[in-house]
């Protein structure tokens, strides 16, 4: 089994519009189906990038912490949430992810994840 992060991207200008609510049943349906099948390992929705705060020690760990209002990068498509999907292989993960409304409102990026203290592929 492989654990995948399904990252949900939306066009920035449509991130928080009135129609968003109409997609809620779609997300609920996906959550119910994937949950019942035992493939859902977690997931959260993100508030719009306008609420983001970005922090960095710009000149190394001992320098002053720089705090900025807004997202790290301005982009046409913004990350709006994620799910963790556990699947036998990429084909199965794709089959599940294709049911997330973000695949037709925007795009879903699937990436295999590994434990923070484990080795990454290709390192």
């Amino acid at each position: 089994m492989t654990l995948y992060a399904a990252m949900l991207y939306y066009p920035a200008d449509q991130y928080w519009t009135e129609e968003v609510a109409q997609w809620s049943p779609g997300y609920a349906a996906f959550g119910a189906a994937a949950g019942a099948a035992g493939v859902l390992r977690g997931g959260e929705a993100l508030h719009p990038p306008g609420l983001a705060t970005t922090i960095t020690f710009a000149a190394g760990q001992d320098s002053d912490l720089v705090i900025t209002d807004g997202p790290y990068a301005e982009a046409k498509e913004v990350l709006g949430g994620f799910y963790l999907i556990e699947a036998a292989d990429l084909d199965e993960a794709i089959k599940w992810a294709a049911q997330i409304p973000a695949t037709w409102r925007g795009k879903v990026e699937l990436r295999p994840v590994f434990p923070m203290n484990g080795p990454a592929a290709g390192q």
Partner: protein, 424 residues
């Protein structure tokens, strides 16, 4: 075929089967490839002296297994699938014959393993160039240097591309399995596109100095035959094989004695490979019978190639049928390169003025040397040599390869000569 070539052919054919099975049992594409590669090298070294063994696949299987075992011992930390660990347990068995029998899979299993490998190499989650590289490396058994040469990239670039593709297969969980029948319509086109792309690169190299890159043409045909054998009765697979054979049949006439390219219109059709045309025609008829009246994109292209193959000369070509076929291709998906070919056919059927109008109706081809060359042809026939010269000059500047540039330069010279004769 020399004995050496025949030997290399056996090693590649059988090596590919051994590889497909080894990938499944090891669960590690890279390890399996390295092991089969070493076994192939060992075979090419040993067999010229000992003769080809009665069962070359068994020989390669045992040798590749031992090589993989050595590699695993050298990198003890490398994770191995449980099944593989058991399979590789050191054996003190004295009965090597029985051991070999146990290891060599029956043909039906090898068949399934190969088909799995086809779909893994051509998985849509891999970039097309990675699919092509994997297909040539893993399915066709070409070495990295040969693939790099064929695509005119440095060997290190091609090696990196393959490493990245294998890492993605391993870590992103790209499955090693044959898609279900219901998924096949989605997945088969990628497989066919990879083979077609290899063939296209062979017939119209995007760079370099060869008229036809024979090695890639042979590889594309080899892959098409492999897939046709693995998926008998799939009309689009049969059509693709027919298309490749029709095109390959023209090869003897595609370049002149001086090595320069000869356009289809000017080719000596008696030099075409008529045996290949015969095989292609039979395959196309089979595909038509199996497709139930719905021609897929490769069948349409094969019909077009068949049309040219059946014509005794360029002017005698059935342009009505050609244009009708291009209309069907274009209805399925708009493609400026197809529209260009259609316009050339219109110029033949309806005259240069209609051809020029059709050419000018296609957008987005101002960087295509073929478009400029086709306009030049129509303009010349319309008695507008100055404009024709301009177009040919533009085409020559845009042509990507030496042979194309020389062909266009020759046409410019001919145009200038006829202009002098006419006193322009």
């Amino acid at each position: 075929m020399s004995p050496q070539d025949r030997l290399a052919e056996t090693v590649r054919d059988e090596g590919r089967r051994v590889l497909a099975t080894l990938i499944r049992t090891l669960g590690d594409l890279q390890l399996a490839e390295d092991a089969v590669q070493e076994a192939a090298v060992a075979a090419l070294r040993a067999w010229p002296e000992t003769g080809v063994p009665d069962d070359p696949r068994a020989w390669l299987t045992v040798t590749a297994r031992n090589k993989a075992y050595d590699m695993l011992r050298r990198e003890a930390a490398r994770p191995v699938k449980e099944t593989a660990a058991g399979w590789f347990a050191p054996q003190e068995s004295a009965d090597l014959a029985q051991e070999v029998l146990d290891m060599v899979e029956p043909d039906s299993v090898v068949h399934d393993d190969l088909l799995r490998l086809v779909f893994t190499c051509c998985h849509p989650a891999l970039a097309r160039e990675a699919q092509v590289a994997l297909a040539l490396r893993t399915l066709a058994g070409l070495d990295v240097a040969a693939i790099a040469r064929a695509f005119l990239v440095p060997e290190t670039t091609m090696a990196k591309r393959l490493v990245r593709a294998r890492q993605k297969i391993a870590h992103a969980g790209i499955p090693y399995r044959v898609p279900a029948d219901t998924e096949l319509p989605e997945r088969l086109p990628a497989v066919l596109a990879v083979v077609h792309l290899i063939a296209t690169e062979a017939h119209a190299p995007s760079a370099g100095d060869d008229v036809v890159r024979v090695d890639l043409e042979a590889e594309a045909l080899r892959l098409a035959r492999l897939i046709a054998g693995l998926m008998p009765g799939e009309p689009e697979v049969i059509s693709l094989l027919a298309l490749l054979l029709f095109t390959a049949a023209r090869r003897p006439a595609r370049s002149g004695a001086d090595g320069q390219p000869v356009l289809l219109a000017d080719q000596d059709r008696s030099r075409w490979d008529h045996a290949a045309i015969g095989e292609a025609s039979a395959l196309l008829a089979d595909a038509v019978r199996r497709s139930g009246g719905v021609a897929g994109p490769y069948q349409l292209q094969a019909h077009l190639a068949a049309c040219h193959a059946a014509a005794v000369s360029w002017p005698d070509t059935d342009w009505d049928r050609i244009i009708g076929l291009y209309d069907l291709v274009l209805a399925a998906s708009a493609n400026p390169a197809v529209a260009l070919n259609r316009a050339v056919a219109v110029a033949q059927r309806d005259g240069p003025a209609a051809g020029l109008a059709a050419l000018d109706g296609i957008g987005g081809l101002s960087r295509s040397h073929l478009w400029h060359a086709a306009r030049a042809d129509a303009l010349e026939r319309l008695g507008r040599p100055a404009e024709a010269r301009q177009e040919l000059t533009a085409a020559a500047a845009l042509a990507p390869t030496g042979p194309d540039q020389r062909l266009l330069a020759r046409r410019l010279d001919a145009l200038a000569a006829s202009a002098r004769e006419l006193g322009h």
